[in-house]
């Protein structure tokens, strides 16, 4: 679109990572802005039908974390061999959702980001009902093949959903 950017019309199928047989059709429009690459692409989408209800699993996870005596701390999820302990699985799913937001905010037509690993995660105590996690993640960018450390602060509540309140790209040697 002259003077505006490139618009893509997509028809895609969403697949539940926890249940490969559960799929839902989706259409979307993505607009990459010309010029200023610091603006996230504009996305509009519609989903055919409904997404699965996850209230039970959400509440189990929420109660478990709320009842921990000490704030949760973990690192290297998955580990070098690809293993994730069952207790850490929801922490990982949360990171995948939150990193989706970070990836969206930083994507251009020449990038392809994936969440490579959670390097470190630390629960932050809160006075309200929300759970807060401070993540240090590694993003893999396919075109440059770089591994980019990224810090993100994630808020979650079963009824209020996921929110990334803060995120920042880290210098490569932040890990050393």
């Amino acid at each position: 679109i002259d003077d505006v950017g490139h618009k893509y019309h997509l028809e895609l199928v969403l697949e539940d990572v926890l249940d490969k047989d559960s799929t839902v059709n989706c259409t979307a429009e993505v607009l990459y802005h010309l010029g200023n690459k610091n603006i996230a692409p504009a996305v509009q989408f519609t989903i055919e039908g409904e997404l699965k209800n996850t209230d039970e699993a959400d509440n189990i996870f929420y109660s478990r974390i709320k009842s921990l005596e000490k704030e949760l701390v973990a690192e290297n999820i998955p580990d070098s061999h690809g293993s994730v302990s069952p207790e850490m699985e929801p922490i990982r799913l949360l990171a995948q959702v939150a990193s989706g937001y970070v990836i969206w905010q930083n994507s251009t037509e020449n990038t392809k980001f994936q969440l490579a690993q959670i390097k470190h995660v630390k629960q932050v105590k809160r006075s309200d009902d929300c759970l807060e996690f401070d993540y240090m993640i590694l993003l893999h960018e396919m075109v440059s093949q770089e591994i980019i450390p990224w810090q993100m602060t994630v808020l979650w509540h079963p009824q209020h959903g996921v929110q990334v309140t803060q995120d920042s790209c880290q210098p490569k040697h932040a890990l050393e």
Binding site: D79, S80, H81, G82, Q114, L115, H140, S144, E146
Partner: protein, 332 residues
């Protein structure tokens, strides 16, 4: 009598079958990732126990002085046989690559007697298998940085180490899709074949260029089967042969577990890159040059769980056997 064959029951329980058969491979676990030392030990073991089909040799030394081992697989049936070259682990963090190379060798040795296709392959061809190309990088990914990609050569000026071993070959070197900056993960190096690993393998492939009819390089991740060119958008001369080989291979792969691979020229299927081993092999006269990007498509990425080693390797075997048998049917 509660147990009819006690001997059998005990053997089944403790895997005693392994030392009844001196030539057994069953002591080694092919469904876990192995360190460089373990892989080298495994190669030495096979060299000793399967000397009729396996010959281990070195093509040179890595930057840090490690030997670059290759296994030559095949029956010494006739004086001159064509060959297939397979390498894994050009990029250190792509652990499923070396896992597949080991799996391939295991399958070859275990099914040579019972599978007519495998027997045909090993009788009519030699296979040169390099389970770990980038030995220094692979070792580093085990001890220091799981996401290391490049070699471990020291840069004279900057603090950054390593060269992308798949950007260091002498074919349109350091053009698009490679970086001149030593700190980047696609750094092409100070000059082509600057990396001793690349130089050693290039030397071997050049020496055997008349014998080698297929070059297969294993990477991760993306689930793709790629052929030249990577450095430009153009069609190779023997496109119809290569494309049909790729099409059949991808279908064979899918028949195992339904996993879909995309296939096509690397430049349009994945991205443009220059100085790759696949393009170099093709330019050097090897008619079938392929690069596999194995599982998955990003959910686990480089950290593919060990539980997925077996399905990944099983389906990939079908593709490799398919390409090999296609090669024997003469469409070059």
């Amino acid at each position: 009598i509660l147990i009819s064959d006690l001997q059998k029951a005990i053997e089944n329980q403790t895997g005693l079958r392994s030392y009844r058969n001196r030539r057994s491979l069953s002591g080694y676990n092919y469904e876990v990732y192995h360190s460089l030392e373990e892989i080298q030990g495994w190669m030495h073991h096979l060299n000793k126990t399967h000397s009729d089909l396996v010959h281990m040799f070195s093509v040179g030394k890595s930057y840090e002085g490690r030997p670059l081992f290759v296994l030559k697989l095949g029956k010494r049936s006739r004086p001159y046989k064509k060959a297939v070259w397979i390498d894994c682990g050009i990029h250190a963090r792509e652990w499923i690559g070396p896992a597949f190379c080991q799996w391939f060798v295991k399958e070859a040795l275990q099914t040579y007697q019972t599978d007519p296709a495998m027997r045909k392959m090993l009788t009519q061809l030699y296979f040169y298998i390099m389970p770990v190309f980038n030995v220094d990088g692979y070792h580093f990914s085990w001890t220091n940085d799981r996401f290391w990609r490049k070699t471990r050569s020291k840069n004279t000026r900057l603090r950054c180490h390593g060269v992308d071993a798949n950007r260091n070959w002498k074919v349109k070197w350091c053009d698009e899709g490679a970086s001149f900056h030593p700190c980047d993960d696609t750094y092409c190096g100070p000059f082509p074949e600057s990396e001793p690993e690349v130089k050693a393998v290039a030397h071997f492939l050049r020496k055997h260029r008349k014998q080698i009819k297929a070059y297969l390089s294993f990477h991760a991740y993306a689930q793709m089967l790629l052929y030249p060119y990577s450095y430009k958008y153009a069609t190779i001369p023997n496109f119809s042969c290569v494309e049909s080989a790729a099409y059949n291979a991808v279908n064979a792969l899918q028949s195992a577990y339904g996993i879909r691979y995309r296939y096509g020229p690397a430049s349009s299927t994945l991205y443009v890159s220059s100085g790759s081993s696949m393009d170099w092999a093709y330019k050097n006269g090897i008619p079938y040059a392929f690069a596999f990007e194995l599982r998955d498509t990003g959910h686990f990425g480089f950290l593919l769980p060990e539980t997925l080693i077996k399905p990944t390797c099983t389906e990939t075997m079908l593709a490799v056997k398919n390409i090999t048998l296609h090669l024997l049917k003469k469409c070059h």
